[in-house]
């Protein structure tokens, strides 16, 4: 039953070190465990919808209800300037990537703490846990996108080929969510405060992102600092390519992309270093 001896992998376990090699080793290990990532993601999606009465409708309900509330507040009660179609479409196109980010980060932040029984009993690359939540949130995003299509149709907004640019834009959103998921989940193992602060943090973060208001009203002197938030570039450009015929605003996207590219390897490194003793402190 044992495969030929040559095929055996030799694994060496040493005290954790904070070195770039850790990233390479971690990534290789992760590829080895890709089936677990797939199975757990499917499980995540299954379980969420199996236990709830409304099932998959929840994926749509959250951005849809927020859209209705924001539309009432910012287009009926207060007049918020907006561009590229009615306010409902304007805000929904921003709520889609934002809801993805906020769901991905909130759910994954507590992923390790929630699975402490697994972490203290079985080994597998721990990043799989936060990763599955990000992937499950992306699945929700895809479902909720169907509503955007319907909304665009009913308001007679036409899509152009430029709308395909949402793919690279969402890639930035996924990578940034991953970085935050890795950082916050590992941090929460040591400091439970993260779980409590999560709701507040994301609420504030939403107002630092052009979700309910257009990017164009941000004063010029704040633009640089504002665009360091990768989600600002993602949300603004997501909305632009859908509603304004494929024109991108690179000035707001680029700083965020750079932040994201720097943050992701650092977050992974921090995660892998903290993983070594995670089971002792969780």
């Amino acid at each position: 039953m044992n495969g030929s001896n040559q095929l055996r992998r030799t694994k060496v376990i040493r005290p954790a070190t904070f070195s770039p090699l850790t990233i390479v080793r971690g990534a290789r290990d992760l590829i080895h465990y890709r089936d677990l990532l797939l199975t757990l993601t499917i499980h995540r999606i299954n379980v969420r919808y199996k236990q709830s009465a409304l099932g998959i409708a929840w994926a749509v309900l959250q951005p849809l209800l927020l859209m209705i509330v924001y539309t009432i507040i910012f287009s009926v009660v207060v007049k918020m300037p907006h561009e590229g179609g009615p306010y409902a479409v304007f805000v929904y196109a921003a709520l889609l990537p934002w809801t993805f980010f906020s769901t991905a980060v909130t759910t994954s932040a507590s992923s390790l703490v929630a699975h402490n029984n697994l972490i203290t009993k079985v080994y597998f690359p721990r990043e799989i846990l936060p990763l599955t939540y990000v992937l499950a949130a992306f699945f929700d995003f895809l479902i909720a996108s169907v509503i955007l299509m319907a909304l665009l149709g009913s308001y007679h907004v036409s899509l152009t080929a430029g709308a395909l640019l949402v793919c690279p834009i969402m890639l930035v959103a996924v990578l940034f969510s991953l970085a935050m998921a890795l950082l916050l989940s590992a941090f929460q193992v040591r400091f439970r405060d993260i779980g409590i602060a999560m709701g507040l943090l994301l609420q504030l973060w939403m107002y630092a992102t052009p979700v309910v208001y257009p990017y164009s009203i941000v004063p010029d002197r704040f633009v640089f600092w504002y665009s360091l938030n990768p989600m600002a570039g993602v949300v603004e450009n997501f909305r632009r390519v859908i509603l304004q015929h494929g024109t991108m605003n690179m000035a707001v996207l680029l700083p965020g992309v750079i932040v994201c590219m720097l943050l992701l390897p650092l977050a992974y490194l921090y995660f892998k270093t903290s993983e070594a003793t995670m089971a002792d402190v969780i």
């Binding site: 005290p15 400091f191 439970r192 070594a276």
Partner: protein
């Protein structure tokens, strides 16, 4: 060729105490101050050859679980290096990773992939796993509706189907009913015969003796003996007395009026042992030290089965009023026929004063092996007397009536 090598491995834990509930502020306040730490394992080196079965024994706190966590990579060493050649399967806690809402079949996929199986591999083994666990007809029932036996069996079946080069075993052999335990043992012996390397960490000394080729003894984080299972097991029995002396010096609460200094089972010739026989005499000695005289003392001896439930507790209060004067003393507990069925057990003993517990010693592990055959849950001491047929029918009705009203 070694499948598993430990090179001067040490593991230090921080004594953070409430670490899991600690907040950010607490952490910052303590930042810079060196918190206490202790070495759960210190400079441990050993190797396990390919195809060998190694048993690791030791008292609670000797570092066994830490060793297990290091081998299964759940936690990393503080110093040293561990080399593992091949795929490892850890049967630490069967059924971890089960989700109650999912069906048995779905859980096989979930738990199997957590244990490191590929999807294709699970596809191939699914039927065999469900059959081994005896839940083939319940494959599509959510596991929350399973009996605890089914749950455990399914967990074990998944782990037993991992094509591992190295099998890491905990107390798993003690789960399920007798019939299933037998199948587990068979399966393990089968894997062993196929050349799987086995590392078995247990209190079940009889199983270690039966299953292992070699043994290691851990004490206070250090490797203190290595040899054949029998050699190591007899070292372990001697350790029972040593251990309590060491613990004594570490006792923080010195204001106890009395304390247990040793608890030892003795064999017929009066030597310390960890192996008893069902249906045969058993004898244990509780040694104690009294600092302040205890007026209404009671000493108890308790037996626990795996899973920590108390099987029996015996108190001196019923038969023997005790007044303990200052000094040292000992009390003997003995039974003519041990009623415990074969298995792994732990014993504990305590001293009470007027129903207030003064001292309690950590558990001493022992094994009960088959002596007289047990049919049922325990051996009950009994005698048979053959009665003549005529005597049996000559019972008078008036006599039975009289018996009913004492």
């Amino acid at each position: 060729m070694y499948d598993l090598e430990f090179h001067s491995v040490s593991k230090r834990y921080r004594l953070a105490g409430r670490s899991s509930n600690r907040g950010l502020l607490d952490k910052l306040r303590w930042f810079g101050r060196r918190s206490g730490s202790f070495w759960a394992l210190r400079d441990v080196s050993f190797g396990v050859r390919s195809g060998e079965a190694l048993g690791i024994i030791g008292h609670n706190g000797a570092g066994k679980s830490t060793l297990l966590k290091l081998i299964s990579n759940i936690t990393s060493p503080t110093e040293g290096e561990i080399r593992i050649r091949g795929r490892i399967a850890a049967l630490l806690e069967v059924g971890s990773g089960f989700h109650p809402e999912l069906t048995g079949r779905e859980n096989v996929y979930l738990s199997g992939s957590i244990l490191g199986m590929r999807r294709a591999e699970i596809n191939n083994k699914l039927d065999s796993i469900l059959e081994f666990a005896g839940v083939l007809n319940f494959a599509d029932v959510p596991v929350k509706r399973y009996s605890s036996g089914m749950y455990v069996r399914l967990g074990f079946a998944i782990a037993a189907h991992l094509d591992a080069d190295i099998l890491l075993l905990d107390e798993v052999l003690a789960v399920g009913d007798a019939k299933f335990q037998e199948r587990c043992q068979e399966r393990i012996l089968e894997l062993k015969a196929n050349g799987t390397t086995i590392v078995f960490i247990s209190h079940d000394l009889a199983s270690v003796r039966r299953l292992c080729d070699r043994g290691l003894l851990l004490n206070h984080g250090r490797l203190i003996a290595e040899g054949t299972p029998s050699e190591v097991i007899s070292e372990y029995a001697l350790l029972g007395r040593e251990r309590n002396r060491v613990e004594e010096s570490e006792l923080v609460n010195a204001r106890k009026p009395a304390r247990v200094t040793a608890f030892t089972f003795l064999d017929e010739s009066g030597r310390p042992t960890t192996e008893l026989q069902t249906g045969f005499p058993a004898c244990a000695i509780v040694e104690y030290e009294v600092m302040h005289p205890v007026q209404h003392a009671a000493i108890s001896v308790l037996f626990y089965a795996s899973g920590d439930w108390t099987v029996a507790s015996h108190f001196t209060t019923i038969d023997l009023p005790l007044h303990l004067p200052a000094g040292t003393g000992a009390i003997e507990f003995s039974t003519d026929e041990l009623t415990l069925p074969p298995g792994a057990y732990a014993a504990g003993c305590s001293i009470e004063d007027d129903r207030q517990q003064i001292d309690f010693v950590s558990k001493t592990y022992f094994t009960v092996v088959a002596g007289k055959p047990v049919r049922g849950r325990f051996h009950s001491p009994h005698t048979w007397r053959e009665l003549r047929y005529t005597e049996a029918v000559s019972h008078e009705p008036s006599r039975t009536e009289g018996d009913e009203k004492p």
